[in-house]
Symmetry: C2
Subunit: 198 residues, 2 copies
Amino acid sequence: MASLGSWREILQSALQSHKHLKHTQHLQLATVRADGRPANRTLVFRGFVDGTDKVQFTTDFRSQKVEEMKHCPFGEICYYFSESWEQFRINGILELISSTESDPLKKALREKAWFDSSPRLRASFGSPYPGHPKTSEIQLPKLDSSQGPLDNFCVLTLDPKEVDYYDAKKGRRIIFKLLAKQSDDDANSVWSQQEVNP
Amino acid sequence: MASLGSWREILQSALQSHKHLKHTQHLQLATVRADGRPANRTLVFRGFVDGTDKVQFTTDFRSQKVEEMKHCPFGEICYYFSESWEQFRINGILELISSTESDPLKKALREKAWFDSSPRLRASFGSPYPGHPKTSEIQLPKLDSSQGPLDNFCVLTLDPKEVDYYDAKKGRRIIFKLLAKQSDDDANSVWSQQEVNP
């Protein structure tokens, strides 16, 4: 068969062909709870961490997934494209970059993600504790646009190890596996690629 | 606060308001693999099993999720509605109804689900083994419209225990928990309902 290129190239092309749709940035992330049961929720795709294959999200430090990651650091993204019927299942390792981060590059990444966020999203990190009973109308803080990240603001990344790509229109399914990675610089990572039965 | 009604009523209303969109039947199901890592994939919502709250799907007996269910029978659905920004996270117990099913009601359910399926979907259950390396062009069997279910055809159900509903436009989140159930007849099941912080 003719190669389709890397999974990053195929994903880029799916994103491009769906960019007219508002909901294209939404995907689902599965994790495992402390009791061993699965969890699943919609997240907004915030692109890739520069120079790497890491998928980037934002999250609240108080959310359940932060607790879940301590027990099981693995996550699986399901990214489905509604018009082309393409699905990417991206399995990998989750990492949290929180207010206590000491690595200068990661600190800078968190800072940048904060200033890339909308005022509405930023204010949400000053909300009452997520998941606790609602006791009153929610008042979000009014933040100055120059104010840095609130403590609850975190960047969440998923470092892909395997990608299961399925094109339901063409009946084509390809499994990509990470074979080797020389460093955090994914320019040098090596992936295998195998077409399988859908 | 004014009650919004049961989660079934809210879901019904979301389905109704999105029925003009083809992709509205697509949701994501998270499970846990034998190695304890999460899995996630898109499935087509096939409604509820008559007279119950069980969410219904079809699946191939040879798919990975059938293997995963043996290790962990729990699943979590993430059902996101792209226009209203409503999300339903439905956590519950998975059950497979396969060709070896002996319960007469479940056998009849599987039969009905088969004849409700499109010819294209039916033929897919005669495909080469899913996930195995592709060795040749895929020839699907030509089935007579009166032919009963192929052996690989299964019905998969998820029996909800908890529903986490979030309306991102209104900033409203409600947790529904199954308190008691008298029988498989869900007409008598009792749910609690608690509004929580988003």
